[in-house]
């Protein structure tokens, strides 16, 4: 039985090591489809904002190598002690129970690793939280179970609801559970500030490709920002449990050129001119 164990351990070690490397490189390799989840994806999505790219570099370049190394190191140690210090190879156990140098080492090295991680982490955190001067400010309101958006007065001052397209209404190319009837449209290469509030319970506004996530909390106005550098449609979702249709209130942000953005603003101002009235009523009701 014990010799069998040794053989198993000997063979398992390289296999497991190889598997880890595969997963690690898979995690580093960038995904294909932009703005939407990639089928079978194993890593962070393609990031289109500076903060998102910094997040990706931090995860793939600092965190993933360090945690993979630590997990592999512990696994290798377990395999080694199992192989070297089992009953047959080492019938007489040593009496070693203290080694001050060793204990100081495995306290200090983790401290150094954590300090090493925290430097880029603190820098990224500040970039995420400190909001630069914004060209466009959008107010996103969470409702059970859809998002509403309001544009500022200098951009038309209109508001609209954004509902998930039910499966029956999907057109070819529409993504199930992600496509919405009215997308949020923003200009490319501009700082967009999103103010996130809620009309009822807690929701959370998250767009993975932007590296953006912030809760919508009753009685609070939360803010986040992004600067999308590539045109396209980027999907997100509510990420705080909010009731039965929590999974069915997607976010879709269309990033367009400045010309197209101005065109859309003109259209939307007309189209949604009347749409803000019911929103006020809803907000008043929530406040009671």
């Amino acid at each position: 039985m014990l010799t069998a164990n040794r053989h198993i351990i000997r063979r398992a070690a390289p296999t497991a090591g190889a598997l880890f490397l595969v997963f690690w490189f898979a995690g580093v390799a960038a995904a294909g489809a932009v703005g939407q989840p990639e089928a079978g994806g194993v890593g962070l999505p393609v990031m289109v904002t500076p903060v998102g790219q910094e997040t990706q570099a931090f995860y793939n370049g600092v965190l993933l190598p360090i945690i993979s190394f630590i997990a592999l190191f512990v696994f290798a140690l377990l395999v080694y002690v199992g192989w070297r210090f089992n009953e047959q190879t080492n019938p007489v156990p040593s009496k070693l129970t203290h080694h001050t140098g060793l204990e100081i080492t495995w306290t200090l090295i983790p401290v150094l690793i954590l300090l090493f991680i925290s430097i880029p982490s603190f820098r990224l955190l500040a970039h995420q939280v400190e909001i630069p001067d914004a060209k466009v400010t959008i107010k996103a309101t969470g409702n059970q179970w859809y998002w509403s958006y309001r544009y500022p007065e200098d951009q038309g001052g209109f508001a609209f609801d954004s509902m998930m397209k039910p499966e029956a209404d999907l057109k070819p190319g529409d993504l199930r559970l992600l496509a919405v009837d009215n997308e949020v449209v923003v200009p490319v290469n501009e700082v967009v500030k999103v103010q996130v509030v809620t009309n009822d319970v807690i929701h959370s506004f998250a767009v993975p490709a932007f590296g953006v996530r912030i809760d919508a909390i009753p009685g609070r106005l939360n803010e986040t920002w992004f600067k999308a550098e590539t045109e396209g449609v980027y999907y997100g979702s509510c990420t705080n449990i909010c009731g039965k249709d929590h999974a069915f209130m997607p976010i879709a942000v269309r990033v367009v050129s400045h010309e197209k953005y101005d065109e859309w603003l003109a259209e939307a101002t007309v189209k949604f001119a009347k749409a803000d009235a019911p929103l006020h009523v809803a907000a008043d009701q929530a406040r009671r």
Binding site: L2, G27, P37, E38, A39, G41, V42, G43, L44, P45, F58, L63, I66, I67, I70, A71, V74, L77, V81, F85, N86, N90, V92, P93, S94, K95, L96, T97, H98, H99, L102, E103, W106, V111, L114, I117, S118, F122, L125, L175, R176, L177, D200, V201, I202, S204, A206, I217, P218, G219, R220, N222, T239, N240, I241, G243, K244, H246, A247, F248
Partner: protein
Amino acid sequence: MASSTTVDAHDRPRGLGRFLFSTNHKDIGTLYIIVALIGGLVGFLMSIAIRAELTHPGITIFPGLAQLLHGVDPAMALDAGKDLYNVFITVHGVIMIFFFVMPALIGGFANWFIPIMIGAPDMAFPRLNLVSLWLLVGSLVLAVLSLFVEGAPGMHGFSGGWTFYPPLSANLGSPGPAMDFVILALHLLGASSILGSINFIATIFNMRAPGMTLHKMPLFAWAILVTAFLLVITLPVLAGCITMLLTDRNFGTSFYDPAGGGDPLLFQHLFWFFGHPEVYILILPSFGIISHVVSTFSKKPVFGYLGMAYAMVAIGFIGSIVWAHHMFIVGMSLNAQRYFMFATMVVAVPTGIKIFSWIATMWGGSISFRAPMIWAMGFIFVFTMGGVTGVVLANASADRQLHETQYLVAHFHYTMSLGAVFAIFTAVYYWFPKMTGYLYNETLSKVHFALLFIGINLTFFPQHFLGLAGMPRRYIDYPDAFELWNVWSSIGAYISAVSVIIFFYVIIDAFVRRRAAGANPWGVGATTLEWTLSSPPPFHQFQTLPRITGSGHQ
């Protein structure tokens, strides 16, 4: 039964009364383990239903389940199914934490073995011990009742997640009485755990055998001491937190309602002040058990005993001041996020000390790969996996990308569902011969290990990928692109289900075959006091207190 004496003749209750009214710590421990077994099985079946639903895109299982459980009208089945899914993820969490891991490790194994390991005849307050048990059972009854009354409008059971965030748990989201049942269940449970913890603290401080100083005490006793302190400190905060929710719901206060000057974030701060130490409450007893098993089968004393003991104290202390790392995306100030991030990362240091000390205990040892040792080595590996993703999530900056995604689900299941559960199985296979007097089939136990190790890693490793790619947690349906890894994850869950069947077979087989274990089936490495007693131990042990001599640590 070698040391049974005349004392047994008159104060040993018989039959049903023995278990309903027993004040014996071993009987109460056994009852706790039975509660945990039932709770664990129910929670596990719920997780299988959740994985079955998530195997493929689309809503498949739960509408039918809602019709089956609550007899909903077929026209309403889809909405009822969606809500029932949320009830399942909520109740799965509550059951696994409060009615499986805690009763198994603290009420069960600690109750059984803390008095024996420190050389005491019983717990300090035997009647209080029984009160703790029955409060827990009462709590379980209330929690089950909550499933059959209204929660969200027109729905059955509370469906807002085990974190109970208002307003979803307030009248706005769950006007029905289900949440009130849950709150009262938590009150009973909190009272049960506080009384139990007081009992452990009193026992460990006052009833150690002559010569057993705190620094000679077994590490499992250290683990339970720290755990008991965490419970006594944090549970009253939870009690206040949910009492305010109760009055918000029923008596018109507005602690958590901004319309009346309250703040939903107050709830989150109070909840996590309890909730974060709670995860250490779940894992610290496991640390103690693993230390004993590793030492026993390496035939070496634990490496760095004092470092191991005080690492647990440090984990308990730091773990109590990091709670808001669950709230990085609620809009906290930059400085608050910086503090909670760095404090959280510091927890990795004492945890690392424990991992490396276990490996150093094995280093130079003469390891026999008996079943409990294999489980313990499995624990060390999976807990390390969960630990390193914990370091990732401690970074507020990385958490912004991964918060409330499947990555988080993978992380805490690696520490709890793999970590704590592997420790529970380690404890079962380590102490089963002592508790029952019977040997079990070790080969089958190793098969159980192999299947669970493969199954549960297959369940949760791909969830890292899903979370990185952006799949949120607590979703009943997901975009089609996430299908591949969800299929693998569900296959892993089914493999784990097979391993659970093997577990029950191993246990039943051991009772049927009745192979006598003897006082110490594990050999020279098993040095703690329970191995000096017969298997099973006498009804009252240590009628003459053992005297601990020598300078060595346990």
